[in-house]
Amino acid sequence: MQSHAIDPASMAPEASGPRLLLEARAVTKQFEGLVANRDIDFEIPRHAIVSIIGPNGAGKTTFFNQLTGIYPPTSGTISFDGVNIHGFTPHEVAELGIGRTYQNIRLFQNMTVLANVQVGRHVRMRGQWFHAILGSASIRREEEETVQRARELLDLVGLSRSVENDLAKNLPYGDQRRLEVARALASDPKLLLLDEPTAGMNPGETRQMTEFIARLRRDLRLTILLIEHDMKVVMGVSERITVLDYGEKIAEGTPAEIRANPRVIEAYLGKQSSAS
């Protein structure tokens, strides 16, 4: 990844666009007196897997919420795929191509597995209420394609066809995580945000999940951002790691650099080892 200046003219529109898929400049978020994020510069190159780590309360979630449009930064800019997303609502951000999962699984519990993925596909569908009532051929085709696509995604994340009509809440924990990924993928995202995807998993499941993340990037040409507070998880899978502490970026680099960084050890690992 040699660095070169980003030339807007060199954007290849259909294939790649700008080299950086996401670019945050001097993002600051202030709640009343509390500065949750201070002057954070952050970027995600296309087709990379990058991670944000930091102890609990470091400002990861705040940063994440600004990326997904839940609230805008107090100052600074975030642009995604060349678009400044300031003032975008979450559904507009989703339509631009950011899909996400949740740390504490948040499925549509009383809907079927298939319907969960179909809702994920919502932004790529066109059917309005009057189309639905009239039931035109094009709308039926769209529905069929959506079912088709949803099933492919369930296959991809490793959920069997036999559970597609079960309610989401009745799936075992691991399968619920898979379903969340399938729902996020259904919107054909360019960037997939995974919020602590291995939370609550044992070492075997964690390894499977990290392998799965690597496979997603390879097979679907996705760009992936992981948020973790467990450093061990991200070391193996990500190319670049950003470390937050007390709302500020304290380090950035490859896993090897992060592992060797004294500030990280002090702020992060040091705290953990002293705690145990």
């Binding site: 979450p90 559904h91 951000v93 989703a94 809702v119 919502h122 189309h131 709308i139």
Partner: protein
């Protein structure tokens, strides 16, 4: 031994609860009100039945709690006897202390005599204990009976009761169709005759017993047939259903048609509110506003003596009414977009009242007529009577209103069905499940909330429009909070988000009370009781949504299989 002790304790508890229910039914006057209503003439009245069912249920419940079969049967007897004993003590007390009537005004000598089976109090008390104990035992035995035997017996009994309740309506119709002899054989006085009761019981029991195997066989054959045959069969079934619905007012007669019209009106309201509450999960307690808007707009536009004085024909006014209601939906929906759950419910409740008060107000009297309302609304087709040429049917009043209402109901059900299984319906469901995640998944939650309010209003206003033409006038007093609550109760009873549920719900909550006029003063009490029981016993409703029903069926089937397979080990 301790197992048996625990069993007895819970038998006493259940008996006590059931006794409380029975005492309540007696002291509010429900039992006496129904003591003249014959089920089987000379043998059983509805009032007696009301006191017989609770110990029966108690025996059934207690026998489902495990233990040896002997233990269960004993528990059944105990629980029934406890319930009967409480009643007996109450009876002796009421007999000995006449002053009790000063506190419990409904405890009249007639009631005391009724509870005592017209015997002296001591004999009556003993009979209460004995009868309740026997009923408890019967309930426990029913639990021991395999479902394929129990179910037909239960439906047989239920069918018998329903047929006797229908006596005032069925009998004159039988006479109209020159079946007076049949009527005299089945019915006697105001209830069923004894042979009539036996026939009804056997007929309903046999139908229930035959239904499952028949459905399995026919279903198997249809599944085995090719697609074209299946389509033909489905088409034929639909045709038969439609022909039946078209002929229904002719079979049912004028009074039952009026009942059907009420059921239809509430079905329309229910289908509309179901979009808002059942699909999108927005608890709207002011739904009556849309009913009122539908009625008033229709009256304004079609009545020649309204303030507008336009006298437009109904069918031309209808699109304007629907559009107006949808806009009202947006108007009410917009300010409450950020509210959730309880807060939304409270605010919409307020909007419902505001709508009523606006129509009632003096300030708007020049338009809406204040308390006088709007008069002179013409019938739906502009005429009061239509003669159907070939069939010789005369359609007037309710038998005439029935048809456009049926059309609207079918239309509304169709629209609701199409929406439910579409991108829109799924977006609404997602909104109901988790608003934040729905938004982050790409659902424009603002638009979809407004859409739910607007479409819900558009469907509900159809009910209002038909209502105005049927009454030929509108008054603000009609559109009170009770309408909103009744419609919500219909949805809850039928099953949130379920279209057949709305129909079943309005049949049960609107149609049934019309059949039992003794109910009138107890209607709200019964609604409340029904809702509480539903929330405890079957929160997903009578006819739940397919996805929910599937879950339920699995659980049911497992429980049933378990109950049948394992003849419970000793305690």
């Amino acid at each position: 031994m301790s197992g048996n002790g625990a069993m007895l304790r819970s038998a006493v508890t259940v008996g006590g609860i059931v006794a409380a229910v029975m005492l309540y039914l007696v002291t509010v006057g429900l039992v006496l009100a129904f003591s003249e209503r014959e089920v089987i003439t000379g043998a059983l009245t509805l009032g007696r039945l009301m006191l017989a069912v609770p110990p029966l249920v108690a025996g059934f419940v207690i026998a489902g709690r495990g233990g040896t079969w002997t233990g269960r049967l004993v528990a059944g007897v105990v629980t029934g006897a406890v319930a009967g004993a409480v009643m007996a003590v109450a009876l002796l007390f009421a007999d000995a202390v006449p002053g009790v009537r000063g506190v419990l005004v409904r405890v009249s000598p007639a009631l005391v005599a009724f509870v005592a089976f017209d015997q002296p109090a001591t004999t009556g008390a003993a009979m209460n204990v004995a009868l309740a104990a026997v009923l408890g035992l019967v309930g426990a035995v029913a639990r021991a009976t395999p479902p394929h035997v129990r179910r037909p017996l239960m439906w047989g009994a239920l069918g018998l009761v329903i047929m006797s309740m229908l006596e005032p309506f069925v009998r004159p119709r039988l006479t109209d169709f020159e079946l007076g002899a049949v009527s005299r054989f089945i019915y006697q006085g105001r209830g069923l005759s004894i042979p009539g009761a036996v026939i009804m019981f056997v007929a309903f029991a046999a139908t229930t017993a035959g239904w499952r195997p028949l459905r399995a066989r026919v279903g198997g054959r249809i599944a085995a047939a090719d697609a074209a045959t299946q389509a033909t069969i489905r088409g034929m079934a639909l045709l038969v259903l439609i022909l039946f619905l078209l002929a229904l007012p002719q079979i049912a007669g004028s009074f039952l048609s009026q009942v059907l019209v009420f059921v239809g009106l509430y079905t329309l309201l229910g289908l509309g509110l179901n979009i808002v509450v059942g699909y999108a999960g927005l608890l709207d307690l002011g739904y009556v506003a849309f009913y009122a808007v539908g009625s008033y707009l229709t009256a304004l536009l079609t009545s020649p003596i309204s303030s507008l004085g336009l006298g437009i024909p109904f069918w031309i006014a209808l699109p304007i009414v629907v559009l107006g209601a949808a806009l009202t939906g947006l108007f009410i929906g917009a300010p409450v977009l950020r509210l959730r759950g309880d807060y939304l419910a409270i605010v919409t409740l307020g909007f419902g009242e505001i709508a009523r008060l606006l129509f009632l107000s003096d300030a708007l009297k020049p338009w809406f007529g204040g308390t006088q309302g709007i008069l002179g609304v013409p019938g739906i087709f502009g005429v009061s009577r239509i003669d159907v040429p070939v069939l010789g049917w005369e359609l007037t009043g309710p038998t005439l209103t029935y048809y456009p209402l049926l059309f609207f109901c079918i239309l509304a059900a169709f629209v609701a069905h199409r929406l439910k299984y579409s991108r829109v319906g799924r977006a609404w469901n997602a909104l109901r499940e988790d608003e934040d995640v729905a938004e982050a998944t790409g659902v424009n939650t603002v638009n979809y909330k407004l859409l739910a309010f607007a479409l819900g209003a558009a469907v509900g206003c159809l009910g209002g429009a038909v209502f105005a033409t049927q009454l030929q006038s509108v008054f603000p007093g009609t559109f009170n909070i009770l309408v909103s609550i009744t419609v919500l109760a219909i949805i809850i009873l039928g099953g949130m988000g379920s279209i057949p549920g709305v129909i079943v719900g309005s049949l049960a909550l609107i149609g049934f009370p019309q059949l039992l006029r003794e109910f009138a003063e107890f209607r709200l009490l019964v609604y409340g009781g029904v809702l509480v029981i539903m929330m405890i016993a079957r929160p997903e409703g009578l006819v739940p949504d397919i996805t929910r029903r599937r879950e339920l069926h699995e659980a049911d089937a497992e429980a049933e299989a378990e109950a049948e397979m394992t003849p419970v080990e000793g305690a």
